[in-house]
């Protein structure tokens, strides 16, 4: 990971992972009072580790491998809301980094100091 396109690639991966994290939290919150459903757990930390170790492309990863069912009793509304808000903040932070990375590219193209 030594050029600017690899950085963009890593940032896009990170955005996709945070997006999946918020989707899992949203599903859990929606299902919380719905009978006949189970809780979902998304092991995003393992996914991030695998992505960085093997330089994987997000779209080619089997996401289901990182999801598992957990008892609904272990799903807490405040924890899921926190999870969603945290993922949202990280997503926005990564988007800002991507934006600045493109800003640097723009400077390089224009030849400014």
């Amino acid at each position: 990971m030594n050029d600017i396109s690899s950085i963009s690639h890593a940032l896009v991966n990170a955005m996709n992972i945070q997006d999946m994290r918020i989707k899992v939290a949203a599903t859990n919150v929606t299902n919380i009072n719905l009978s006949g459903t189970k809780g979902l757990f998304f092991n995003y930390k393992q996914l991030m580790k695998d992505v960085s170790l093997h330089n994987l492309v997000y779209n080619q990863i089997d996401i289901n491998k990182y999801q598992s069912n957990i008892p609904k009793s272990s799903i807490k509304l405040d924890e899921q809301t926190f999870e969603a808000v945290t993922a949202s903040g990280r997503y926005q932070g990564v988007a800002e980094m991507l934006n600045r990375s493109y800003g640097l590219m723009q400077l390089a193209i224009q030849g400014r100091e």
């Binding site: 459903t37 949202s88 926005q92 934006n99």
Partner: protein, 134 residues
């Protein structure tokens, strides 16, 4: 059977959650409202409950709907002067547990708030994503 994430967008999932929680609030508030309303006959067919298909994540068209509870229990009280009293002076009311209905009301309200909060987070994310490259 392992439950997996649906292919629906987050907005659709949140919209369903909001609809479901709102239906629960409506059913609970309606049930509390009719708790002390005398029944014209002994059948408490006006008590409501929320019905949802649990596989909604695969099919958004399976909507939430309110339905009446069949064979709901009734309680009676001796009020011979009541216009709806039967020949023995008994008036029938639905056996609604107001504590349960209040608990449903509060939990649905909290879950609705959580759904709104997540929706706002997604809205902020989307706005930020649109700024990329500006």
């Amino acid at each position: 059977m392992i439950m997996q994430l649906s292919s629906l967008s987050i907005q659709d999932i949140i919209a369903f959650g909001l609809k479901h929680e709102k239906a629960r609030v409506e059913a609970a508030s309606y049930n509390i409202a009719i708790a002390n309303v005398a029944l014209p006959n002994k059948n408490a067919a006006s008590v409501l409950q929320v019905k949802t298909h649990p596989t909604f994540l695969n099919d958004i068209k399976n909507n939430v709907y309110l339905d009446t509870v069949s064979n709901y229990q009734t309680k009676n009280s001796y009020e011979p002067s009541h216009p709806l009293a039967d020949s023995s002076g008994m008036v029938f009311y639905p056996e609604i547990n107001t504590a349960t209905e209040m608990a449903t009301l509060v939990s649905a309200s909290r879950a609705y708030d959580a759904n709104i909060r997540i929706f706002n987070s997604i809205k902020d994310m989307t706005a930020k994503a649109y700024e990329i490259g500006k």
